[in-house]
């Protein structure tokens, strides 16, 4: 009998996890999934009976940031075990074998569990010039992805690059990078964008699948509504300061010390759908706004073009939008226009439009401008340790 055929109870017992800790975890998961607390026992029951799901995790044009996020899975012990009871059969960053032996691990899982394994994809897929911008084992990432997605029960994209091409697809990128849904449009895909994604949302998606045997409800971008159903701005701990007109207007000012709203510093919370403010990162420790930097909108389509410049103030947000989802907002939200198939033409049109609407850049509020350092370029060439290298090199 393989572990695949056994329930979770035995596994947890083997690993010294108490029933109480497990139920607590199930309740927390119900919370992330925005389910009533009464669902916790159902989740627990489902997980106890769940088989050990094989996982193939493939990386394309990536930075492994989502892998690192995965390794930070919080809820010590239990969540880690939930991920552990997935059999991670292929994952370049952590697996023991290299080369052909590694590829054999993937093929074995594909043959042994057709239409049962979960495919996780991290990183974008370069399609320009025959796919030469990312090869593994001498094969293009696109050809590998097509093969492995074909037999997957579902495909989860982690991070913004696998979602819509992300950073490599930003304006200026030469590799023709796209997201998974553009390569395998027919696949059952659930998207967890973010740079990186929040591992809590990955855990919750898997738990949902094991509990209800279906994918969680999503918006038209394939993002689960439990995680991407509300604006950051509407969940933000600094929202009250926005309402009161209390803003940070320069780094380190009184507003920065008092935790005021970062809207005028370019925060993208008013146009970004994500649960960062409530779920937070690293065992619920923090999130960017909590440490005083604006949201950069990384969960949104085309974010690297649509959400930049990062420090430019957005147009005034609608008064209250907490009942609104990305799909309903429509044209007011650039992400919705750019869509999953964001191509540069569309993206630049939207960008231009945004610039036309935008107020003047927040930069002008940073206090009196000193005399410009006109001689830097010349003197910096002369010495690498000289005064010209202001501060640190």
């Amino acid at each position: 009998m393989t572990t695949f055929d056994r329930g979770l109870t035995a596994l947890l017992a083997e690993r010294g996890v108490s029933r109480r800790a497990f139920l607590k975890f199930s309740a927390a998961m119900a919370g992330v999934l925005a389910l009533p607390p009464s669902y916790a026992p159902r989740i627990a029951t489902a997980l106890e009976k769940a088989p050990r799901l094989p996982v193939i995790w493939r990386e394309g044009q990536d930075c492994a940031g989502n892998t690192e996020g995965f390794l930070r899975a919080s809820h010590p012990t239990v969540a880690n075990l939930i991920l552990d009871i997935l059999s991670v059969d292929y994952h370049e960053t952590i697996m023991a074998p290299s080369g052909a032996a590694a590829e054999e691990s993937m093929l074995a899982t594909m043959e042994r569990y057709p239409n049962e394994y979960i495919l996780v994809v991290e990183g974008s897929i370069p399609r320009a010039d025959g796919g030469v911008y990312c090869t593994i084992g001498g094969r293009t990432f696109e050809s590998i992805l097509r093969e492995v997605a074909d037999g997957a029960a579902m495909t989860i994209t982690v991070g913004t690059c696998a979602f819509d091409g992300g950073l490599p697809a930003a304006a200026g990128g030469p590799t023709g990078a796209v997201g998974v849904s553009q390569v395998v449009p027919g696949a059952r895909i659930i998207n967890l964008p973010g740079c990186p994604m929040n591992v809590q949302n990955l855990t919750a998606t898997i738990v949902h699948y094991l509990t209800f045997h279906e994918l969680p409800a999503t918006d038209s971008y394939g993002r689960p509504l439990f995680a991407y159903g509300q604006l950051v701005h509407d969940q933000c701990e600094r929202r009250a300061h926005f309402e009161q007109g209390e803003y940070v207007i320069a780094w380190g000012d009184e507003g920065a010390r008092k935790g005021w709203c970062l809207y005028k510093m370019g925060c993208k919370g008013p146009e970004t759908f994500a649960n960062c403010p409530t779920v937070r990162f690293n065992d619920r420790t923090s999130w960017p706004v909590k440490v005083g930097h604006g949201c950069v909108g990384c969960t949104m389509p085309g974010s690297w073009d649509q959400m930049t410049p990062f420090y430019r103030r957005l147009p005034p947000p609608p008064p209250f939008a907490s009942e609104v989802t990305a799909d309903q907002v429509g044209i007011a939200f650039v992400g919705a226009i750019a869509g999953l198939a964001a191509i540069h033409g569309t993206a630049s049109y939207v960008r231009k439009r945004r610039q036309d609407r935008a107020e003047r850049p927040p930069a002008t509020q940073a206090g009196p401008a000193p005399e410009a350092p006109t001689t830097i370029a010349a003197s910096a060439r002369l010495s690498s340790d000289g005064e010209s290298n202001g501060g640190l090199d």
């Binding site: 697996m95 074995a108 010039d129 090869t135 593994i136 065992d283 420090y311 501060g391």
Partner: protein, 569 residues
């Protein structure tokens, strides 16, 4: 002569292919090929320089934070900004935490499986394991029942038939030398380290909002408010959490990581004579201890050690860094062999390798997405070993004491440092030194805040209208994997050119215009390979550098020959 290709090299960041020629069980030649390109430098052009760090940080998610820091330093250099003391200390804390967490992850989760046989751990006597563990450390998790429980978990895992990431590995290969009890101890610590690392890295979440990719930098300093009297700023409570996590970090490093490295190294002393590499070492130095901005004030010094000569340290000037692309998938307007300083750097992708799918890179002059950086025309090795050697040769008292003690414990001479094992040891020593610095930087931060200095950013040049029409700057840094530099040229408030020369580009460099190998390639030459179908020895040396390929792109000049057998293993 057999030629083999190992692709993918796993347990690294990114996509790396290694091809080697093996004769009589020894690697005679090697080619390192980075197989992925994203075009970050091209994407950055025309953007707001203040945004660059958010983009550049995505160069790597494993050595996260380091590219953000190099980027803000480069732009601050161009704008002649000097960051406030509070920002300097917070940056040191974030970067120092990165070293500690990253080095431990590297040892246990990326490198250990080359030395530790997981399956052998199932045959260990838990009592012997407990005796071994207790003989090297007073770490409390060392009882017979503890190791028995770990072993039961491993046995259940193996018996399941679903080995997950441990399937198809090289278990049982005679290159594995640890006795079963040592294997079981290491496996237990592999699991403990997995738990430990995600706790310790919370320091970055407290100071940066999240990890990976913390988000609290700004050009000029940091975004966070600091004010001991404000509950929403960097509060006393958050600082005390950091203290707790730092203590936890130091405890594990001193009582688990260091004893494990020493114990495991004791079984692999022959690796102190393998993987010597180029013998030139470059360190930019880092961790400013004062506000002068000068390298003289860095905790880890700047310099070069050339030809393994520890009697002197050569100076470093960023102007002496240049890249060529004769073996790389790029073209230069004025010839691929023209050395280009990063300010004049070009990123013109031009693939010239085999059409995928392919079995070998043999016969292709260009074979990697990595450029070939050189310092005054010399190939260099960078990383923890380079830093420790430069510091040692500089007479750095902490490093001298640490190195001498380690060499004494292992009963080997200084020549042992220039090796695969030397890199492992240097990384461990560096971790011990830096984890010991964290509390001091935090204390300085708290003392400074207590004086009423709440400055966190120099915003005098935040407004692009205050910038000169043209400016250029550089940000040098020591990332966990080695010397890292970002160079930026700003024109009319936009990025006109942006170049990264990162640690794995130095180490993973392909051949240069003169045909000289990069550091990985050179280190592989002479490596014994017991069974080419199980190239665990090659992995040991490559992993000793802690490769990071996503950063590097921005690992083979085939020796022409007939009748060479090509196998993909």
């Amino acid at each position: 002569m057999a030629r083999i290709a190992i692709d993918p090299i796993t347990r690294i960041e990114g996509h790396l292919r290694i091809e080697v020629e093996i004769e009589d069980g020894v690697v005679r030649d090697a080619w390192s090929s980075g197989t992925m390109f994203r075009g970050l430098e091209l994407i950055l052009r025309g953007r707001d320089p203040r945004d660059a760090w958010v983009f550049a940080q995505r160069a790597c998610g494993v050595c996260t934070t380091v590219h953000a820091l190099a980027s803000v330093r480069a732009v601050e250099s161009a704008l002649a900004l000097r960051i406030p003391r509070n920002a300097r200390l917070i940056r040191n804390l974030i970067a120092g935490t990165q070293y500690v967490q990253d080095h431990v992850i590297h040892f246990y989760h990326l490198h250990a499986l080359d030395w530790v046989d997981v399956v052998s751990a199932t045959q260990a006597d838990p009592a012997a394991t407990a005796a071994l563990a207790q003989s090297i450390s007073d770490w409390p998790l060392s009882s017979v029942s503890y190791f028995k429980s770990v072993q039961d978990r491993v046995k259940a895992f193996v018996a399941s038939g679903q080995l997950g990431p441990f399937a198809n590995a090289y278990w049982g290969n005679p290159a594995y030398k640890l006795p079963p009890p040592a294997n079981l101890m290491a496996v237990a610590h592999y699991l403990e380290a997995l738990d430990w690392q995600r706790q310790v890295i919370r320091i970055q979440a407290l100071l940066g909002g999240k990890n990976p990719h913390p988000q609290s930098y700004v050009v000029g300093g940091m975004a966070m408010g600091v004010d001991p009297n404000s509950p929403t700023a960097l509060t006393t409570r958050r600082l005390s959490e950091i203290t707790e996590l730092t203590t936890q970090a130091q405890d594990f490093v001193d009582r688990v990581y260091i004893p494990d490295v020493v114990a495991i190294a004791g079984f692999y002393k022959d690796w102190a004579g393998i993987g010597q590499g180029i013998g030139n070492y470059l360190a930019y130095g880092d961790f400013p201890e004062d506000d002068s901005g000068q390298p003289a004030g860095y905790y880890l010094p700047r310099g070069r050690v050339m030809g393994r000569d520890l009697s002197k340290v050569e100076p470093v000037d960023q102007l002496d860094v240049a890249e060529t692309v004769t073996s790389s998938y790029y073209s230069y307007d004025d010839g691929d062999a023209t050395p280009k300083h990063p300010w004049e750097g070009q990123t013109n992708p031009k693939y010239a390798g085999p059409t995928p799918p392919y079995a070998s890179l043999e016969g292709f002059d260009k074979y990697s997405w990595l450029k070939a950086p050189r310092y005054r025309d010399e190939p260099m090795e960078v990383g923890p070993l380079a830093r420790m050697l430069v510091a040692y040769a500089s007479g750095h008292s902490d490093v001298r004491a640490g190195v001498d003690e380690l060499l004494g414990t292992l009963g080997v001479g200084p020549e042992a440092l220039f090796s695969t094992l030397g890199r492992v040891a240097a990384r461990a020593l560096e971790t011990k030194l830096l984890v010991g610095k964290l509390a001091g930087w935090q204390a300085q931060l708290e003392e400074n805040l207590a004086t009423g200095d709440l400055a966190i950013a120099d915003v005098s040049r935040w407004d692009p209208a205050s910038w000169p029409a043209e400016a250029q700057g550089w940000g040098l840094e020591e990332a966990p994997r080695g010397a890292l530099g970002h160079w930026v040229v700003i024109k009319d408030q936009k990025i006109a050119n942006y170049q990264l020369v990162v640690p794995s580009t130095w180490n993973g460099s392909p051949r240069d215009a003169k045909g000289r190998r990069g550091a990985w390639e050179e280190a592989l030459v002479g490596t014994p390979v017991n069974d080419p179908a199980q190239p665990v020895e090659i992995l040991r040396t490559v992993h000793s550098f802690d490769p990071c390929l996503a950063c590097a792109v921005h690992v083979y000049d085939p020796a022409a020959g007939t009748g060479v057998e090509i196998r993909v293993v």
